[in-house]
Amino acid sequence: MKFHTQLAAVLISLVLPSVALAQEIDTGDTAWMLTSSALVLFMLLPGLSLFYAGLVRSKNVLSVLMQCFAIACAMSLLWFAVGYSLVFSGEGAWIGNLDKAFLSGITYNSMTGTIPESVFVVFQMTFIMITPALFVGGFAERMNFAAMLMFSVLWGLVVYIPVAHWVWGGGWLADIGLLDFAGGTVVHVTAGVSALVAALVLGNRRGFQQTPITPHSLTLTVVGAGMLWFGWFGFNGGSSLGANGAAGMAMLVTHLSAAAGSLAWMTIEWLRFRKPSVLGIVTGMVAGLGTITPASGFVGPIGGVVIGLCGGTVCYFATQLIRNGLKIDDSLDVFPVHGVGGALGTILAAFFVSAAYGGAGYAEGMAFTSQLGVQVIGVLATGAYAAIVSYALLKLVGLITPLRVDVDTEQQGLDVAQHGEKGYNI
């Protein structure tokens, strides 16, 4: 498979920098990766931040935007300082090395495969930026900003970086053959699980399940949703690291899964309440997108549609279970949508990668059952690791500064109390 070869080439080039330098630049691949990097940034700012901001009450709108923005900036510098190096430099099973700390040695001529290494650095940076921003939805409207920032940076260092190395940096999950094209485990499972843990550690918002806590502007949320869909083309389409058939197919199946997930959620609401809601359709879209993510560069069009339908449906019921069944205030449903979707897609990839369903086919030596086993291991290992470390980090941070704002701040709203601003003066 062309893209397998290409990924191999990339991996080789990482291990043997001299080989990398020797490879010629492909301007088309570079153009697409520059674009993809921009798209993933856009997916986060303003995309995700807006999607989330619309869902909270107007007294907390800026706090959500601020949390996403500050995480984006802090993660960028973390990636610059040690992240890139620890993930992509060195061959350890558990973690890379510090040879490229502070991006040392990366010049105008450094190459990663067919693209400049600088572009590879930026593209991968956007992933560490967006992952912790996802879990902001779990503790929205009540977490203390200082604690939030401290937790996120530590999480990036101790959760994201190792897991990304395991899966994409040549670590143990790569070795056993885990298929995770664009971050079902690295991004969605880790973020989803950590959001749930944070929601449990912090406790529910005051009034949760007593008075309706309604979104202050679904218009913003829908705008953010459109941006997410658009940006996800770079997230998944860029994960082939070039402008090739895998990128094209990733974009196609990503799109189909988003559409199918949306319609699945819409249909369920329509049947249950006779009222299909716009928040429902966009939540189904996110579910479809999260679910296809790990599978996107391996499956074919039919796989894309089926995965989207499964994503929309399963995430719907997962949301009901967490929110209304277990009464856990994972405020913006990060775990049931991202965590469950990411895990589901990682597992479904084991089926739909099969050439029989139009997928790219199993890697040599792999068959359905062996692949399924690997996928389950991948989900469980990343999920369990993220849960345990997140819990420990929250407890640690809680020793330094309060995790949760006080009652007055929560009632007044975080915007004025923590950031000295109001979202609207209309």
Binding site: P215, W265, L279
Partner: protein, 112 residues
């Protein structure tokens, strides 16, 4: 002088304004409010769950009038705002001790 405060359905505002203009009322003040009453609220969907919303958007109109036109004004509002369904709204009448026109300092009925 009386202050007539009417709570009406938002889409009736133009009709009421026209009815009041027609009987010579020269001014009024309008604001958006939320009402709670016998009229049933609606349900909303949030991420696949349904819940009840009690407050309903209403429009509040305040009109200061001279005593002699009070009844005409009330009738005009009732006629133009009525839809014969629960939730058409209420009119509250309070006595006004005084009215002042800021521009001129006029007081009493001439200031209306």
């Amino acid at each position: 002088m009386k202050l007539v405060t009417a709570i009406i359905r938002p889409f009736k505002l133009d009709d009421v304004k026209d009815a009041l203009s027609a009987i010579g009322v020269m001014g009024m003040t309008v604001s958006e409010v939320k009402g709670f009453g016998r009229q049933k609220g609606h349900t909303e969907i949030y991420r696949g769950a349904e819940y009840a919303i009690d407050f309903i958007p209403k429009t509040k109109i305040e009109v200061a009038v001279a005593d002699d036109v009070l009844d005409t004004v009330i009738d005009a509002i009732v006629e133009s705002a009525k839809g014969n369904k629960v939730g058409d709204g209420k009119i509250f009448v309070t006595a006004l001790d005084n009215v002042v026109r800021i521009r001129t300092g006029e007081t009493g009925a001439e200031a209306i």
